[in-house]
Amino acid sequence: MIECRVDKASRTMFCHFPTKKMDTNASTEADKEFLKSFNEGGVDKIVFDLEGVTYVASGFLRLCVSAAGKVEKGKFSVIHTDPQIMKVYKIAGLDSLLNVS
């Protein structure tokens, strides 16, 4: 599950993930929801807030990469990662590309 809200002033989309475990199914659902929200337009910057997320499947990494591809380089970021999740991004070589912190 994903919850997205757009801050119109900064044209930034903030996404939260109340489903703490972003497994393959949850990531597939999140992908659909994300696209729906994004396609409504008005977004230059995307922030995935992973506060509370304890598990990410490869499908979620794919979602991050695909989301990052929808905005200009450097305008996508992943924040509030758990240390273990941060390591997943590092091992996958995505930490710089996706601005993970």
Binding site: T81, D82, P83, Q84, M86, K87, K90, S101
Partner: protein, 476 residues
């Protein structure tokens, strides 16, 4: 053929003679040689430390002595009872007998930071495994390394070791080292040194045991005994002026204990740089072109570093500490500097602190060493689980702790494997057993399940894996 190829050929021809002669040696004779060599090296610990200090201009004389003791006495105690010749294990139940064989000539590359100790360590583990060894020292430590090798060689000969079992290069040249690395007569390279050298060893086509660079993060948990932690960190980071690659590089603490940690460091004569001083130290400690530590500060005392940087520090300052915001190229002191300089990070909470340790670990110390001070097993395990380090030292000076043999039961070693994270093939402390080819006699012990199983059933496509597995284990 270049003169370097010729020289390499000559050294390897001699080494091959020694390797042949070594084949005839039994465990007793081998152990006698090792004992004689260890004693000779140990007896020369002080003179060799003097030579190393004078020639390299790095480190602290007393600490070089201790390193020489570690490399001889402590290593000897660790390997003396190990079986390294002939049958080393027999298991009647499995029918497997292990037989140890030497590898053949070993090429030992020696760093300037720990010269004589690394020479003696590598000679001991090579002779214990009946491998001839060729010492290729750093050009900045050629004399002291040659002397250490000579002392060991003469002792080995006194114990009837083969001629040429220890050889050394008195006038090192990169071209000669490269020629030796690529020579088909070399069985194994023991590469201790900078990343370029280790990469050259791995690229040569000859099997190599190398090391990776360190960038040791130290996490001081709220459960830690802070005065003890600070005292121990100072003991480690000042040891030989920080030349051991497992020495602490960055301290990471949570905001809630930072005042206590900071005041303890100050109380124990460490100096926190202000931003202006930090910028000055960065300039002398890190080469801006490469982003790597500058040789001019490696193994130097605080006073000299301060003077190079044009800052003044209180008398008897043990370590200078630079507070850092982030990790990476924009923060030069977040990388490895083998000198009494520490980076210092304050983080809002535990998660952020651990993430900073991961960042430091990934910046350039993958696979090497990480350190934690805590009195909470759950926290220690959590930290260890997440750090990519061959050694996670707990409430221990990381320099001496990672080297092993004094503060823990790790094999004492001057070659610390960093696993594939550091482009190495092992995460272990390299020691004698890494220098053996182990053959296995496999006596027949039938797998009774396999014998009883009607193997024609494997050709029946209607049977599933579960069906076949049930049949395979039937009646057991």
């Amino acid at each position: 053929m270049s003169k370097f190829d010729e020289k390499a050929g000559e050294l390897l021809k001699n080494a091959a003679l020694a390797a042949g002669a070594f084949e005839m040696f039994d465990q007793e004779k081998t152990d006698r040689i090792v004992e004689e060599v260890y004693k000779a090296g140990f007896d020369a610990r002080i003179s060799l430390a003097h030579m190393a200090c004078e020639e390299t201009g790095l480190g602290v004389f007393e600490h070089k002595v201790i390193k020489n003791v570690l490399a001889t006495q402590v290593v000897y105690e660790d390997i003396k009872n190990e079986k390294t010749v002939g049958i080393i294990s027999e298991d009647e139940h499995s029918g497997i007998t292990e037989i140890a064989q030497p590898l053949g000539p070993v090429l030992a590359v020696i760093p300037v930071t720990n010269p004589t100790s690394t020479v003696m360590f590598k000679i001991l583990i090579s002779l214990k495994t009946r491998n001839p060894i060729i010492i290729s020292p750093s050009p900045r430590a050629a004399k002291c390394c040659s002397e250490a090798a000579r002392i060991c060689y003469e002792a080995a000969l006194r114990a009837d070791a083969p001629e040429y079992c220890v050889q050394w290069i008195e006038e090192p040249a990169i071209e000669l080292t490269q020629a030796l690395m690529a020579h088909r007569g070399v069985a194994m390279i023991l590469a201790t040194g900078g990343p370029g050298l280790v990469k050259a060893a791995y690229s040569s086509g000859t099997p190599a045991l190398g090391v990776g660079p360190g960038n040791v993060p130290v996490f001081i948990d709220e459960s830690a005994d802070i005065p003890y932690a600070v005292r121990t960190i100072i003991l480690s980071k000042t040891f030989d002026n920080g030349t051991i690659c497992a020495s602490e590089q960055a301290i990471v603490v949570e905001k809630k204990i930072v005042d206590r940690v900071r005041s303890e460091f100050k109380k124990q004569k460490c100096y926190f740089l202000n931003p202006d001083e930090t910028a000055k130290v960065e300039k002398v400690a890190v080469d801006p072109k490469t982003g790597l530590m500058s040789p001019s500060v490696v193994g130097q005392p605080v006073e000299l570093i301060a003077s190079l940087a044009g800052i003044s520090v209180p008398p008897e300052t043990k370590i200078i500490i630079a507070e850092q915001e982030g990790v990476g190229a924009a923060y030069p002191l977040s990388g490895e500097v083998l000198a009494p300089i520490l980076a210092f990070y304050v983080r809002d909470d535990l998660k952020s602190a651990i993430k900073t340790c991961i960042e430091l670990n990934y910046l350039g110390g993958l696979g090497h060493t990480a350190s934690i001070y805590a009195n909470n097993d759950e926290r220690i395990n959590e930290f260890a689980e997440i750090m990519n380090a061959g050694r996670i030292v707990v409430n221990t000076p990381s320099a001496q702790g990672a080297v092993g043999g004094i503060f823990n039961e790790l094999h004492p070693s001057f070659t610390l494997g960093c696993g594939t994270w550091g482009k190495n093939i092992t995460t272990e402390n390299v020691t004698a057993h890494h220098l053996l080819n182990i053959k296995r006699i496999c006596r027949r012990r039938d797998n009774l399940k396999w014998s009883a199983f009607p193997t024609e059933k494997y050709f029946d496509e209607s049977l599933s894996a579960d069906d076949l597995l049930m049949e395979f284990h039937k009646n057991y």
